[in-house]
Amino acid sequence: MVKISEAHSPPQQSPSNNFRLRLQSELAERCASNPQYSLRSFALHLGIDHSTLSQLLRGKRRLTEAAIQKLGSALKLGSDELESYLADHRRWPVADPLVDEATRLTRDAAEMIADWYHYAILELTRLESFRADSSWVARVLGISTDEVNIALVRLCHLGLLSMEGDRWVDRSQGLVVSMEDFTQAAIDRLWSQVRELALASIRDPARIHEHHSTTLAVDSKRLPEITEKIARFRSELLELLQHDRAHDDVYRLEINLFPITRTRPTKESDDG
């Protein structure tokens, strides 16, 4: 099961991240232009071990000045650009707020599986009635077999799923995908897809579904407390369900808390 963190806030970036983000964006661009391109291909190009590159991209290994020089040279960066990364690194050699101790997908990987059905396929494999059959998966999820097969290759490529004959095995246990890893375009697409799924669910009286929506005035100082309660509720629900042996359906839980005011109301603005 891939856990998708609902917490979404802009990542805090310092210049010391710049070179790592440059590597991530270079890999994402190469993967976008060539579907067969992988982390290993990129590591090969850069002349470093793929596991080292993986750690660098995920922020689990700190970039040294020598590494920036070597990798920048492999990327054929101009001397000015390379020097600016080195200057940033010297100024902020330690701060690296994107480092996350949890096991996380790289940004390009998260982007690759942003569409909702990738996660749905992983969850389907946990059902007793699951059939390792693209047509069956397509019918159950209401998508095309080509969409299933494209997703299948992506999930296998990322090591999140393996095909073992008449079984497909979810290998994503423990992975966390943060919404921070998605581009705004991917987030927009995902939300649009989820909205459509929710609407289709509301129109289906034969299936059990719950939709609640409340508009409420809040004291913004209590927002951290509220988000913590939401996070705890999600954790408790996952804990409750994950040990069940007899899964027979896949649902999606969406919890949204967001301001509906365009700007924060203040006395000053009221007074005009």
Partner: protein, 124 residues
């Protein structure tokens, strides 16, 4: 045994359109009655040539043709490929019909498949 090319695959953003095109042009037969709904192509050539198939490309990908090489051991061949500088795009998988496959990206920009037929996998 040697390592013959036993299968080819068209990867297309419009797999249905491509299947229709080659069916019309060459009279090839396209059969999807398998676990992955894979568009298996029989060129209907009385045993001449090799069979192929059509697989969907993701929207961000591009059209290409891949060759599949039959090997005794897909995992071992994948390992050997990486030792020679290639990258594994998709590690060994066992398909619903029991065949094994992996996709490799060589150091020269070409992707190809490693394949082992179910019929030659010894029963355990």
């Amino acid at each position: 045994m040697g390592n013959p090319v036993t299968h080819w695959q068209i990867v297309s953003k419009d797999p249905e359109g491509a299947a229709g095109f080659y069916k019309e042009l060459f009279g090839w037969n396209v059969d999807t009655a398998n676990g992955l709904n894979y568009r298996m192509i029989d060129t209907q050539s009385d045993g001449k040539g090799i069979p192929g198939g059509i697989w969907p490309s993701p929207p961000e990908g591009h059209a290409l043709v891949q060759l599949f090489v039959e090997v005794d051991d897909v995992a071992a061949a994948s390992q050997r490929a990486t030792e020679l500088g290639a990258a594994v795009v998709m590690p060994r998988q066992v398909l619903p019909d029991g065949d094994e496959m992996a996709i490799i990206h060589d150091a020269f920009g070409i992707t190809f498949g490693l394949w082992r037929k179910r019929s030659i996998i010894p029963e355990v």
